[in-house]
Subunit: 391 residues, 2 copies
Amino acid sequence: MKSATDVRCCTIEGMTAADAEPWPTPRGASRPVLTPTYEGDFVLDESLKLECGRVLPFPTLHYAVYGRLNAARDNAVLVCHALSGSALVGSWWPEVFAPGAVLSLEHDFVICINMLGSCYGSTGPGSVNPATGDVYGPDFPLVSIRDNVRAQARLLDSLGVRKLRLVLGGSIGGMQTVDWTLEYPNRVERAVIIGVAPLSAMGLALNHLQRQAIQHDPEWLGGRYLPQRPPRRGLSLARQVGMMSYKSVELFDERYGRNPNRKGEDPWAVDGASGGGLIGGRFDIAGYLDYQGERFVERFDANSYLAILRTMDIWDPMRGHGTPEEAFGGIRAKLTIVGISTDWLFPEATVRRFAEQILSAGVDAEYREMISLHGHDAFLAEQAELVRLIQ
Amino acid sequence: MKSATDVRCCTIEGMTAADAEPWPTPRGASRPVLTPTYEGDFVLDESLKLECGRVLPFPTLHYAVYGRLNAARDNAVLVCHALSGSALVGSWWPEVFAPGAVLSLEHDFVICINMLGSCYGSTGPGSVNPATGDVYGPDFPLVSIRDNVRAQARLLDSLGVRKLRLVLGGSIGGMQTVDWTLEYPNRVERAVIIGVAPLSAMGLALNHLQRQAIQHDPEWLGGRYLPQRPPRRGLSLARQVGMMSYKSVELFDERYGRNPNRKGEDPWAVDGASGGGLIGGRFDIAGYLDYQGERFVERFDANSYLAILRTMDIWDPMRGHGTPEEAFGGIRAKLTIVGISTDWLFPEATVRRFAEQILSAGVDAEYREMISLHGHDAFLAEQAELVRLIQ
């Protein structure tokens, strides 16, 4: 295996927790952006055999590290990111690094690895397939959470990290965290899993809607669009469906209510800007969603979005197992599982049931409920509260 | 005013409560379809001046009646339908007419009037504008709930109905019911308002997503599509977003869970039917939503959908009033307001707060909660339970 060769340090705009803030980001709300000790690429020196049966030849994992590995090599922490996150955990989870919080730049060696399928440096649909010399596009294979975890383990090997004192993540990051405790029981001491369970039918429905929004965009071209002409409207709509499911009814009401669009549109006007009387001016919540959609299109790739939706869809650690003991009995880490009170994508009751299933397998696990108005996004939007809960 | 001239009796397929059933409709679940005493059109003999300032010249209201008006003219009931409903209330709400239930074919004279903007007989975007000789299309004006109620009152006048012993409806039908008690306080004795309140920010968000799904369809052509080439994929996606919000997480989980599509697709397959590894086979819930979308496209019009979404968006009886007394103080009817426990589009707590607002205005109103797993759709899907609650 080659070690990382390319040192870069860039801030990927718009990927911070500010996504969770009202638009535009309120003044004074900017958070400290932490600079990684190192950011670069790791290229596997062989093909990654995927669960689906296909292989990913010599995939790249883009990653960032914060702090330094100590001599005893016992201070490593792995943070796993969510759907549209990046390896730059210091940029999107800064308060988790605050003095006295969960992670310490002084004492920990924190690693975060971009998911396969993403557009933030790791191999994804926008990468060139070495077997053909062409961009993967729609031929990018189905990569599971477990495939990701296995590739990540190789990267950790190359860094000399055998043991992880902690693995943590929210949403899809939580799926990776669970699979770490299953796949490498002797390498993980503690795991914190936030706002996640296998997707329920409603979660699968939401992903189905997002998928269609992209597929229906005539610019998508069956996944063979050019980078300069992406399916913007489809990806924007998909993101808006997502944003809706990441927030709570209560938060939306408190922030936007039935106010007209803050930029001056009138929902009661006789004729809208286009579409005549059938469309009309926007309410503030519609302006907010459009704004989030437009921002997202600037920073994310439609095929990457589709690839990771599917990775998320098929994650189900109970699949193929008859009992929770069979599925989870091998876990050796101490688990903390967090459900979010107003989460609609992964309802609190669903996460609690998932935790109970793991507990029933005899695993050393505890369940905690995070009380927040922020819905699924709470683990990004209310970091101080999350820190208090999982410390 | 002309009275109705055209007697028709058709069953509009797919408009029954079976929309709320798993696909395909389970055997034995077919419900009795009641035949109206009369079904026809009423044409206003003058222009309807709309709240938005525009006029609708000589609009048609398509309506159906069941039973007969008695000599005392005191047995009239008005039922108001929801977004995609029709005047044929006997077809979509048959159990409300069951012996001993809320309505009686023997004793009541039940009237149901298709909403303006709809595609089921009343004037809508697909109608010809007498002022231009062309189809309205996107030039169809913004019609409010109050506009509908005012037009409906003219039709009742022509039928010789002054008093309504009962007005009732769910969802947008509930909005009409509220406006009846506000606009004609002396004509309504009792009103039953089910699963509705002014749309919250989340509701407005859901409508914004549905609107975009249609607008983004290249076949929509700014609303000027030909009837034989409608924006099918956009309308299907819009309906699917709607269906998702009409149901509950619990019901979807119970019915579909994480099962693969019942027609044999494999979500874990390496390559999907189209879109390669990025799409994949469907889960059962996705097959269900697609099926509902396809059925809906066969029976409903995209511009009508847009028109009624906007009618729904702008309904807010508190608008322009400083206090609940000012807004609701004039109501004379006895009100029953029903919230549905798992409703996500009009959450139970939101409906309860709306009821409390009306109560605080000194109105004779009571609030009841309907316990159901069916979400917003419960008023169509669990009619027997609804009947028990409002009897």
